[in-house]
């Protein structure tokens, strides 16, 4: 079936070629010095007003024009633009190399890219500039993609110092986090204080807040697409940083010059090394490490293969008594092929794995709890560029999941058997980006997704937590299949040269669910797939936005609103047994959710002073029968106001300064409304879920970067930071307890994690 469609399309491709005297110029846009492909660099045709394109995520572009002479102007933020004169009387291949703009130089960029935020149909998209991330002050001085994302409108931090995030009212597991196309199931280290992304290895970060094109799917709220660097294919380069509690290093270089290259990065925290020095804590373990590795090889002009991988592990423990370790492994094998000047193909085989192990040892008796999710993923995508108005993406994605549920086990036999469950998740999609005229742009697509339960286990059905039936699925048999059709549409209409309105609708579905009983995510939360009780989560989001640029695109301004409804949301029932339940599905409740909000964003992109201001006004609610008497209640990620202000100032060629300030309404929490006594112990009485608010959170961070004078190839910089500069005691938890001084009274105790945290990091490159 799929083959026929592809063949049909290919035929159509060749037919359209014959119709007119059109020719195609195509090629790859790269960094002149390192050979890295530049994602999203743009080309405009000087002679044809309004005609231009952006290259894809592999640096490939294809432009089909009537025969003639043209001037192609290529530009990319931070690079010096180039201009190429071409005579298009046959299909041309033109690879373009761009040179990095030197520091402080005002880089003049062609108009197309500059006002892309206004002209492109897609909405709710945030792109992070990796160079900018390095300057924004963060906790412990470890620059971090995920923490910088939290400063954008519609994105909320999961908590103090946390790399977890919520997008437009979605929970943390509703973000699809991709590292070189491989899903990362837990993107945090050390309980969220670090993310799994080593920013030295990262080339491009894109966040799509719900209105994603059809090539993405599988999560309700957002797609965070992180792409790793390929590795310098011209010269060897070493980079690194030494920080207060962690260090990192990377090596990259050519294997064969301009044909193949590699990149290896590593990180390790060493807070535990200091612990060893202290007698009190010498038996404690507390560290993580991670590696990224990547290599690529250009087979010929048209074919290229990549292999990339990530491995990370966290380890926490107390002597021999208690230990927990968890981590992700991902691997991607990818083949890019330029089938013809208008047709680009990408084939990937992807492996992802996340697991955790808890070990408790008491006087020779051991207990373990563990869980795992493992994926094999095959993806095929074609990108087709028939003409300057249109581009297509179509393909399929097939994932085989192995989900091993969390089990409590002892050294002796007698625990519940731990039987893995298997599932197959499939999707086919097509997406078209179409410029109807100079003012109207359309981006629409359709994704057909399915999730099939595969045999090998017994599935119980529950009604109100009581087993009502069960389905025994033998290995090799197919169980229930859930099928969903997900339409995606976004449209932009240019009002003036500098402003546009956009509307969008999208449906997303999610077949994997993270079960979390705690108020923030924990590495021991387990992933579970659809079953006979658990149905795919579905969200429908509509968005409306107004975009305007000022002062020759130096300022970008946008207002976006959204409304999202969510079905089949999963939560634990009150008092659920999460570790030792015979079947965790008996402990679940299902319901729905809704989220709506307004996002304002003003960004200054050029000049010595850059930065942005973002404000989000939002509401997020859940309704689950069995919680709060079935009434709608504020979800934990509901925060009415969320403000971020980020400023960066280039003081001199050596010094740059930065500051950011955040403010948000406290999270919705459940506090007691009364108390009573059981067996002489004070017990609290609760009236409603999340009926209270934590105190408002606000914090100022300051940073300064000093670039030392270059010494031959050796470049270095010092990065200084102060987290929470005015030492605000932000409430991390509020607990209720008997007053230790007066047992006839109870009291509320607020714990703040950090007051002022200074940091210093030394970065080098040669």
């Amino acid at each position: 079936m799929l083959k026929k469609i592809i063949l049909g399309l290919l035929l159509w491709v060749s037919m359209t070629d014959l119709k007119a005297q059109n020719f195609t110029v195509s090629g790859t846009i790269r960094d002149a010095k390192t050979g890295e492909e530049l994602i999203g660099a743009s080309i405009v045709v000087q002679e044809l007003a309004g005609i231009g394109i952006t290259c894809n995520e592999y640096g490939f572009y294809s432009l089909t024009l009537k025969s003639g002479s043209y001037t192609l102007k290529t530009s990319f933020i931070g690079y010096q633009p180039t201009s190429h004169k071409i005579v298009l009387d046959k299909n041309l291949k033109l690879d373009i190399n761009l040179s990095n703009g030197t520091e402080l130089q005002e880089v003049v960029v062609a108009a197309r890219k500059q006002d892309e935020n206004v002209t492109k149909a897609q909405m709710g998209v945030e792109k992070l500039d990796v160079a900018e991330i390095a300057k924004i002050p963060v906790l412990f001085g470890e620059k971090d993609v995920l923490k910088t994302l939290q400063l954008l409108p519609g994105v909320k931090s999961a908590g103090e110092g946390s790399s977890g995030f919520y997008v437009r009212g979605g929970s943390a597991d509703q973000n699809l986090i991709l590292l070189d196309e491989a899903p990362v199931y837990n993107a945090s280290h050390l309980l969220g204080f670090f993310s799994t992304f080593n920013s030295d290895a990262i080339k491009d970060v894109t966040l799509i807040k719900g209105n994603s094109p059809a090539q993405y799917g599988g999560r309700l709220s957002s797609v965070l697409d992180v792409k790793m660097n390929e590795g310098n294919d011209k010269a060897y380069q070493v980079k690194g940083g030494i920080g207060v509690i962690s260090s990192r290093a990377s090596v990259e270089g050519p294997i064969q010059k301009e044909k193949s290259s590699f990149l290896i990065t590593a990180r390790r925290t060493y807070a535990d090394v200091f612990l060893k020095l202290s007698d009190k804590f010498k038996d404690n373990r507390l560290y993580f490490y991670d590696f990224n590795a990547k290599a690529n090889y250009r087979i010929d002009d048209k074919n290229r293969v990549f292999v990339s991988g990530y491995f990370g592990r966290d380890n926490l423990g107390l002597g021999n008594n208690f230990g927990i370790d968890w981590g992700n492994k991902t691997g991607t094998l990818r083949w890019n092929s330029i089938l013809n000047p208008k047709l680009f193909s990408n084939t990937s085989v992807i492996y992802s794995d996340y697991n955790f192990n808890i070990k408790v040892n008491a006087g020779g008796t051991g207990f373990t709890i563990n869980s795992q999710i493992q994926d094999w993923n095959l993806k095929q995508e074609f990108q087709y560029f028939p003409n300057t108005e249109n581009s297509w993406r179509f393909g399929f994605n097939s994932i085989h999941h192995t989900l091993t549920p969390s089990r409590f086990k002892t050294d002796s036999a007698g625990g519940q058997p731990q039987i893995s469950r298997y599932a197959l998740e499939n999707a086919i999609y097509a997406n078209n980006t179409y410029s109807i005229n100079a003012n109207l742009n359309l981006d629409y697509g359709l994704r057909l997704s399915s999730y099939s339960i595969l045999g090998g286990d017994t599935y119980n059905l529950y009604q109100n937590g009581v087993k009502s039936d069960s389905v025994v699925l033998a290995k090799g048999n197919w169980g229930k299949t859930y099928i969903n059709i997900e339409p995606r549409l976004s449209m932009s209409y240019k009002l003036t040269g500098y402003s546009s309105i956009k509307i969008g609708y999208s449906r997303n579905t999610q077949n994997l669910h993270l079960l979390s009983n705690s108020t923030s995510t924990s590495p021991t939360d387990q992933w579970i797939g659809n079953s006979y009780n658990i149905k795919p989560e579905i969200s429908d989001q509509i968005g409306l936005g107004y975009f305007r640029n000022f002062a020759d695109n130096a300022f970008e301004f946008s207002v976006e609103t959204y409304y999202k409804s969510m079905q089949n949301q999963v939560d634990y029932k009150n008092g659920a047994d999460i570790n030792a339940a015979t079947d965790v599905e008996s402990e679940l409740l299902f319901g729905k959710g809704r989220a709506y909000g307004l996002e304002l964003y003003l960004k200054k992109k050029t000049g010595r002073f850059t930065g942005w201001l973002s404000y989000t006004l939002s509401r997020t609610e859940r309704q689950i029968n069995g919680i709060s008497n079935g009434n709608w209640y504020a979800a934990k990620q509901d925060r009415t106001h969320d403000i971020s202000i980020v400023g960066m100032y280039q003081l001199s060629p050596n010094w740059s300064l930065s500051a950011n300030w955040v403010y948000y309404t406290g999270s919705a929490v459940t506090f007691p409304s009364g108390k009573y006594s059981i067996n002489g112990k004070t017990i609290y009485y609760y009236t409603e879920r999340n009926g209270y608010r934590m105190p408002a959170y606000h914090r100022l961070d300051l940073g300064a970067t000093y670039e030392k004078k270059r010494f031959g190839r050796y470049q270095s910089s010092w990065n200084f930071g102060v987290y929470n500069a005015y030492a605000r005691e932000n409430a991390y938890t509020i607990t209720f307890e008997d007053n230790p001084n007066d047992p006839t009274r109870t009291q509320a105790v607020q714990t703040a994690l950090f007051k002022l945290v200074p940091s210093v990091t030394y970065n080098f490159k040669f």
Binding site: S518, G575, F671, I683, T687, E737
Partner: protein
């Protein structure tokens, strides 16, 4: 679990700061709280009826006086309890017999609360094993934790509650086990209690109570939601209980055995 993780992290890496704060908590209508127990040990069984108070009030929980409290079993025996002191209702001669199903009825001015609990067959406690339980980052005094020795029956669904008394002082934490793990095998799980510091020469008594599943669920969920805020644990909620009619608390029929050791 998350609590342990966080304690390790913050104990070792950071010095967090705590302070007592004022929070404006809602006032709420007073709720009825029933604590009822019947066991195979004594002839006198107690049901305590009290009420909730607002968080800001002192910990004086008003007794509910003048209620009619009755316990009956499925063998046709029943007794109306006598209020011996304010809010404390006691039986005189009703025997608790393992295997029987007991029904509690509390009538407070016409409002009726009922609860049912089955007294499980006794699984005897055979002894107490003490194993070292060092606390990192503290002094080097030897500390212990008790492993109750008993053999879980092969049938699935046994639940236990352990009440530990150290040097005459009863530990107030609710320690409950079930046999989801280790069904049919000798127990290996220690009865950890946050407040218990067992040292050499202490006298420790462990009472093992065989409880039914609804009572296990009550104490388990009570522990799960024991007043932790964000980052600290599960979202707090009232425990799931076995009383119909809207009262807080529980009614537990249990069979029990106990052992005492002097820590060497």
């Amino acid at each position: 679990m998350k609590n342990i993780l966080f304690s390790i992290f913050f104990l070792t890496l950071l010095s967090s700061c705590q302070k007592v704060i004022d929070i404006d908590l809602n006032l709420t209508a007073s709720q009825v709280v029933i604590e009822g127990e019947i066991n195979d040990q004594t002839g006198i069984h107690t049901v305590k009826v009290s009420k909730t108070v607002n968080f800001s009030d002192a910990n004086n929980y008003p007794a509910v006086q003048g209620a009619t409290v009755m316990i009956s079993d499925n063998a046709g025996r029943s007794e109306t309890l006598t209020e011996t002191s304010a809010g404390i209702y006691k039986t005189r001669n009703l025997l608790g017999i393992a295997g029987r199903k007991y029904t509690l009825i509390v009538n407070i001015a016409g409002k009726i609360y009922t609860a049912v609990s089955t007294m499980p067959v006794l699984v005897p406690l055979q002894g107490i094993r003490l194993i070292p339980n060092p606390r990192p980052g503290q002094d080097t005094i030897a500390r212990f934790v008790a492993i109750p020795n008993y053999i879980d029956p092969p049938t699935f669904g046994n639940c236990y509650r352990f009440v530990q008394t150290l040097n005459g002082k009863e530990d107030k934490n609710f320690i409950v086990f079930n046999d989801n793990v280790n069904n049919g095998f000798p127990n290996q799980r220690p009865a950890f209690s946050r407040d218990l510091e067992i040292k050499r020469n202490d006298t420790l008594t462990v009472e093992m109570r065989n409880i039914d599943k609804p009572v296990y669920d009550y104490f388990y969920s009570l522990n799960q939601s024991a007043g932790n805020g964000p980052g600290g644990g599960s979202t707090p909620a009232n425990p799931v209980n076995n009383i119909d009619g809207g009262a807080l608390g529980y009614f537990s029929a249990y069979s029990a055995s106990k052992k005492t050791v002097i820590v060497q």
